[in-house]
């Protein structure tokens, strides 16, 4: 017993250390300033969505106003940075996200008191309302929130440096973000292994029973909201330092929606789920957003697909495969996965074709409508003629039929494999 737990600890240490080393090494591979900025954004979002999952995944609280804590942390950090003026130094700047964390914590105490009186749907609605309230107020107080222009600052204070860093170059900022993200992630993981973390799970599963084993569920929720607000605030502090500007948008409903999306897509049932979600969605937002103006539609459809087909998120898909692998059953599914790839690709190609054609025609992404040739997906097409439409629809249809057909067989295999898996276990 003792030995095995020590082994677990050692492999866990290796895993954490490996992740940290990998994160720190990434700028060696991705050198352009854009890619490093992208990595920075990912690091911040990882912390933010992990903090969100403390509510959604661990305590079962669906919040539509989590950006409030994030924004409060960002503004507090920025104001502190500006108040420091010349008195600060790189070391102080490096520690500033802690100010954001405190602000998030304070916000959690005040708002948590109001919101955690109820769970479930009511909680979701209250957070929505409070989020709206704070977002609306943020524009009314330009003194605090900087009005439309936001509050900006400079993270490089003076000429001195701390261990050779002054955080000016983006790479140094990236290093700082990685360190903070690492500390926060470790802390959030540790929290799941404490009495409070476990009771949060208990309250999520069965609040009534939690009361009858002696726990005040409101108090458990409140504490989780406060702690989650704290980490969200730290993420906000990192944003403030990274972009050196904070606007009212950081605390509005859109930001809350994005973090919900990330967390859910990544998988709320696993600690590492939100990390996957944050990385994936950030990349998609910026890369798919750069490729097509229809990205919001693709996003919405992808989200709906995940809700209906994989409500456990990507992490749960990975977990299932790992279970299969451990049980030695992965090989049984692999041919089916490979067989599925082609029809799914065809289906996707068809759908993308239809969507892009529609955008080119209706939203005027190309040069006008009518018979003129327009570039769609790198091809010169005449939108006014039926040919491209028929082709796209035909590909979609073929993809659908093939997916159904091959998918049906894969589904049968899947069910029997799962049955074997659970049969082995039971």
């Amino acid at each position: 017993m003792l030995v095995s737990s020590r082994l677990v600890t050692r492999s866990r240490l290796l895993l954490w250390g490996g992740c940290l080393a990998l994160a720190l090494a990434l700028p060696l591979i991705f050198r352009s300033s854009f890619l490093i900025s992208l990595l920075c954004q990912m690091g911040i979002m990882v912390v933010f969505s992990l903090s969100y999952n403390m509510l959604l995944g661990q305590t079962g609280l669906l919040s539509f106003g989590h950006a409030v804590y994030y924004g409060l942390g960002a503004f507090a950090t920025m104001h502190t940075l500006n108040a420091l003026g010349k008195d600060g130094g790189p070391l102080v700047v490096a520690l500033l996200p802690a100010v954001g964390a405190c602000a998030g914590l304070a916000g959690g105490v005040v708002l948590g008191y109001v919101t955690t009186r109820k769970a479930g749907t009511t909680f979701a609605m209250i957070t929505l309302g409070i989020g709206e309230l704070v977002a609306a107020c943020s524009l009314m107080f330009p003194g605090v929130f900087g009005g439309e222009g936001g509050v900006s600052g400079n993270r490089v204070i003076g000429k001195e440096s701390f261990l050779g860093f002054n955080w000016g170059p983006q790479v140094e900022m990236y290093g700082l973000i990685v360190m903070w993200a690492f500390v926060c992630t470790v802390a959030m993981f540790a929290l799941t292994q404490t009495p409070l973390g476990r009771m949060a799970n208990a309250v999520r599963d069965n609040p009534e029973r939690a009361e009858f084993v002696g726990y005040d569920t409101e108090r458990v929720r409140l504490l989780m909201v406060i702690l989650s607000g704290m980490f969200a605030g730290a993420a906000g502090g990192l944003t403030a330092l990274n972009y050196e500007i904070v606007t009212a948008e950081t605390l509005n409903a859109h930001t809350s929606g994005v973090v919900l999306l990330m967390t859910f897509v990544g998988g709320i049932g696993f600690f590492y789920g939100p990390i996957i979600g944050a990385i994936l969605i950030t990349v998609m937002q910026i890369v798919v957003g750069g490729m097509t103006h229809a990205w919001l539609l693709y996003f919405g459809l992808f989200f709906l697909f995940m809700v209906l087909k994989a409500p456990g998120g990507i992490a749960s898909l990975i977990a299932v495969q790992r279970n299969l692998w451990n049980a030695g059953l992965f090989g049984r599914m692999l041919p089916h996965y490979l067989a599925m790839m082609l029809p799914v690709l065809i289906l996707l190609a068809g759908l993308v074709g239809v969507v892009e054609l529609s955008y080119a025609l209706l939203a005027g992404d190309g040069v006008g409508a009518g018979d003129t040739a327009t570039r769609v997906l790198g091809m010169q097409l005449k939108l006014g003629t039926p040919a491209p439409w028929v082709t796209a629809l035909a590909v979609t249809g073929a993809g659908m039929i093939l997916t159904r057909w091959i998918g049906g067989r894969a589904g049968t295999a899947w069910n029997s494999t799962l049955a074997t898996l659970h049969g082995d276990k039971a």
């Binding site: 352009s32 854009f34 005027g364 769609v376």
Partner: protein, 412 residues
């Protein structure tokens, strides 16, 4: 649509290898919302820039034989994303960026450009602002690396107040605005300037409402009506403006509305008949200003892009001025271009545009016009197919909107 992802990655690599070698064209990155709720504004701007570059520059020989080209970068309206897109543009070798929508994004960009230039003096970037009107951008936060081609809020109010000074029918004024920086500024300047110019105008009320959250303006109109105001000053835009005008018509309020943004991008359509003879706007141009080339340019544009109505003359001005600056400087180095732009005087269709050196703010003639039924004569063209168009009430000369600046510019 090419795939910018691969371009971007490939360029990111090649830029590092080659270090931004001479390109066959002069490239300007257009960073504005191209998806989401404000995408229509961003897309209209991008089309305007592309069209202007083609017709006004490239068909006339280009810039030192090179073509001027605009590439869209979608900042989704977010200040944070603006910075990411700036980095993306810089990686791809862009040295000039333009942005217009949202003061938040503009502030973010001016900060980012300043910091980038300070930290990378060998790869400087220049920011052309075509529509963000927060006065601080050319006052407290002015920068050598920023040029504004639109009149700012304060200048626009100066022009309007000069008009009001002469219009003796205005006796009681009501100020209503969105509760954020722009609305606050409009209210502040209105009061300050009228106090200096027309002491007899009584400000009978002042209301601020949260931006984009009011569905029914009837209670506000009731209040305006109760105050007895004959004129309303508002900085509202978008739905907050359309709904205000509609509610005024419903309640039979006969006051005139002085606005900043009634003229374009869907507002005339949303307002429709409700705005007739009640809505006054201030712009640098409208369809019924008699001009030599712009009228044809606008008509061609509207025909080429159905549903997108030509609105920004300043886009054309900016493209011409930037091209001339590059030609004069015989260089596409941002610093040289910036120096050439300073103090430039450019004859355009509506008169002369002057880029003031002290704060990099463009000075240009402005027009005050009222929404009236299109009659084919003074109101020759209607606006956005509504049957109503803009009738010029007054022309504000370039000098009449000039204001001193508090800018103390750090010059490289």
């Amino acid at each position: 649509m090419k795939s910018p992802l691969f371009n971007r990655l490939a360029l990111a690599a090649s830029v590092m290898l080659v270090g931004g070698s001479a390109c066959a064209q002069v490239k300007i990155a257009y960073i504005d919302p191209l998806s989401g709720p404000f995408a229509n504004v961003g897309e209209a701007g991008l089309k305007g820039f592309k069209e202007a570059a083609e017709i006004l520059v490239n068909q006339k020989g280009g810039i030192m034989g090179q073509k001027l080209e605009f590439t869209g970068f979608d900042n989704k309206g977010s200040p944070q994303e603006t910075q990411l897109q700036l980095k993306a543009a810089i990686d791809q070798g862009f040295r000039f960026v333009t942005l217009g929508n949202g003061s938040g994004a503009a502030h973010s960009l001016i900060d980012a450009v300043n910091k980038w230039n300070a930290r990378n003096p060998d790869k400087t970037v220049l920011f052309f602002n075509y529509a963000a009107v927060d006065p601080t951008l050319t006052n407290e936060k002015c920068s050598f690396w920023h040029f504004r081609f639109d009149a700012n809020t304060e200048m626009k109010m100066e022009a309007i107040s000069n008009f009001m000074e002469k219009d003796k029918t205005i006796k009681k004024l009501f100020i209503i605005g969105q509760d954020y920086a722009h609305g606050h500024q409009v209210a502040k300047y209105t009061k300050e300037m009228l106090a200096a110019k027309r002491k007899d105008i009584k400000i009978v009320g002042e209301d601020l409402h949260p931006i984009g959250r009011v569905k029914d303006f009837a209670p506000y109109i009731a209040k305006i009506k109760a105050s007895g105001a004959d004129t309303v000053m508002t900085g509202n835009w978008g739905n907050d403006l359309s709904l205000l005008i509609k509610a005024a018509k419903d309640a039979g309020l006969k006051a005139r509305f002085f606005t900043y943004y009634a003229g374009g991008l869907g507002t005339p359509q949303a307002m429709g008949a409700a705005g007739e003879n009640q809505v006054i706007q201030l712009t640098e141009w409208h369809m019924n200003v008699p001009t030599k080339n712009t009228e044809k340019f606008a008509l061609d544009f509207n025909k080429k892009y159905p549903g997108v109505w030509f609105y920004y003359l300043r886009v054309n001005n900016m493209v011409q001025m930037v091209a001339q600056a590059m030609n004069t400087a015989k260089s596409t180095d941002p610093k040289a271009v910036a120096l050439a732009l300073e103090d430039m005087r450019m004859p355009v269709d509506t008169g002369e545009v002057w880029m003031r050196k002290s704060d990099h703010q463009a000075m240009q003639p402005l027009y005050i016009s009222i929404f009236s039924k299109a009659d084919g004569k003074t109101v020759k063209h209607d606006s956005e197919g509504t049957g109503y168009g803009w009738k010029t009430l007054a022309t504000i000369s370039q000098r009449d909107s000039q204001l001193p600046t508090s800018c103390i510019m750090e010059r490289p």
